[in-house]
């Protein structure tokens, strides 16, 4: 396996018990990995290390130089128009043209000159996604990017992310607490619990994956149990 991300024995603690307790993680080129875990399980800490926003001791820490992050909040600069925000991600001479193309990719061309504060939650998150993609990253880190969106918008965003992944094929690490989101999108799902991976599962179901598909439901229920949720009605 040609690993894009190769981490061995990663440890991170903030004074108290270790948040990440000797983690091994490999992500292949173009692989879509979802990371599940209860709050406080260390998901975001791991993502911050991968994003280069946090440093932690590890035996080995191989991370691609070209990476982008989409956070839970869109984090657009409110004083720059949508296209200027996206162009800021590119920082090349033809940044504006690239930004225009990235906005077309997320179907946001009609709002290119809008101010971020006038966008809806879904539009803002799509702009944020365009800003991450315009860097043509090898590794795209998504930190619960759809958690603040309403259920319908979230489903549409799932399709969008999937299409963009098919088109540009970066490796993706999606941090989420939405089990269905992970099952619907990822090749591989990791469950993080108390700073260690407690569970790993490959999802070999054809896309598009439908909710209620027996195989998908089985994985979903298994993951929920792993996260400590017993479903009596399933």
């Amino acid at each position: 396996m040609n690993a894009l991300v190769d981490i061995r024995r990663l440890r991170r603690s903030f004074g108290g018990p270790a948040v990440l307790d000797g983690i091994d993680l490999k992500i292949a080129q173009g692989e879509f990995v979802a990371l599940l875990g209860r709050s406080g399980s260390g998901k975001s800490t791991l993502l911050r290390v991968l994003a280069g926003l946090d440093t932690a001791p590890a035996q080995k820490l191989e991370i691609p130089a070209r990476r982008s992050v989409v956070f839970q909040e869109p984090r657009l600069l409110p004083w720059k128009s949508v296209i200027e925000n996206v162009a800021l991600g590119a920082r090349k001479p033809d940044a504006r043209a690239l930004a225009g193309a990235a906005l077309a990719d997320v179907s946001l061309s009609h709002r290119r000159d809008a101010w971020p504060l006038t966008l809806s939650g879904g539009e803002a998150q799509r702009a944020s996604l365009a800003r991450a993609l315009v860097r043509s990253p090898d590794l795209l880190l998504l930190d619960e990017p759809f958690a603040a969106l309403d259920a319908l918008t979230r489903l549409r965003m799932h399709d969008l992310v999937f299409d963009l992944w098919r088109k540009h094929h970066p490796a993706i690490l999606l941090v989420t607490h939405d089990v269905w989101e992970a099952v619907a999108l990822a090749d591989r799902i990791l469950v993080l619990d108390q700073g260690r991976f407690s569970h790993e599962i490959r999802v070999d179901i054809e896309h598009p994956r439908r909710r209620g598909d027996p195989q998908a439901s089985l994985i979903e229920t298994g993951l929920l149990r792993e996260l400590g949720v017993e479903l009596s009605h399933v």
Binding site: G52, L53, R75, L77, P78, K80, L88, R91, L117, T118
Partner: protein, 278 residues
């Protein structure tokens, strides 16, 4: 649309608006009420002056003041004085803007800078700066320097304090985002710090301007041989209360005009804010 009205409801930046408490059709009455009261006061004042209750040595009649204003404008006296006063404020305020911004950037962007700059400024701020006038006269004599110096000194504080606060309160998440986007230090200052602190800075500039005009009024009382302050001093010696009131009105108008100018800049520079987009 719904977002915008929500933003307007949350807007605490604009002037307090009584219409929030009252239905729309009450607004006309409220406006009428707001105009009626000053008009009534001026009318009472005029009656008091005409009946001899209010001596012109205490305060001239409104009509007298209007006539004097016309005369001073026609003679060119007022305009000449105004230009001199305006140049003093411009010079002093420009110095304040440059020094205030330089100090705030230094102390807002580096911990060392803050340790060096912030404590002495906080100490100086506690001093009633108009009380420094005697010292300024001793240091700078009685020419233009103490007047411009007083304007500059007074206006530095609001500019420094608001910009420093603005830089310190910039959303850390945006700084983090710019690290992910690899903007570099200069890029962060250019794309995040300056535009992010601009709303605070503009508030400081508006407040600083009002302080600048106030300082000028005080500074010009001392041995001025030109400017609005000189006209006032001269009028005081001859008990011309009408001239004094006209000059005070001119100060007020100049203050309002310069404030309006900054508000215009504000409306353009901050057009990304929903309540300004309108």
């Amino acid at each position: 649309m719904a977002d915008r009205s929500a933003a307007e409801r949350n807007d605490t930046h604009g002037t307090p608006d009584a219409s929030l408490l009252a239905p729309a059709d009450n607004r006309l009455w409220r406006t009428a009420g707001r105009i009626a009261s000053p008009i009534a006061i001026i009318a009472l004042w005029q009656i008091a002056s005409l009946s001899g209750l209010l001596s012109p040595r205490i305060l001239a009649a409104p009509t007298e003041i209007a006539i004097t204003a016309g005369r001073l404008i026609a003679s060119g006296e007022l305009v000449t004085g105004l230009v001199v006063s305006f140049l003093r404020v411009s010079a002093g305020f420009s110095i304040a803007v440059v020094i205030g911004i330089a100090l705030a950037l230094t102390s807002g962007l580096s911990r060392l800078g803050e340790a060096i700059i912030d404590p002495p400024i906080q100490m100086l701020k506690a001093m009633p700066f108009l009380g420094l006038l005697p010292l300024f006269i001793l240091w700078f004599g009685i020419g233009e320097a103490p007047k411009i110096g007083l304007v500059a000194f007074g206006a530095i504080f609001p500019i420094y304090l608001t910009l420093h606060g603005g830089i310190r309160s910039i959303d850390k998440k945006l700084i983090e985002t710019s690290q992910v986007l690899e903007l570099g230090t200069i890029g962060i200052i250019r794309h995040i710090v300056i535009p992010g602190a601009l709303p605070s800075l503009l508030v400081g500039i508006r407040y600083g301007l009002s302080v600048a005009w106030l300082s000028l009024v005080v500074g010009e009382q001392i041995n001025a041989s030109s400017g609005i302050g000189y006209i006032i001093t001269y009028a005081r010696d001859f008990l011309q209360t009408d001239v004094i009131v006209v000059c005070l009105l001119v100060y007020a108008i100049m203050g309002l005009l310069t404030d309006g100018l900054v508000r215009g800049i504000e409306a353009y520079a901050l057009r990304w804010r929903p309540q300004v987009i309108a």
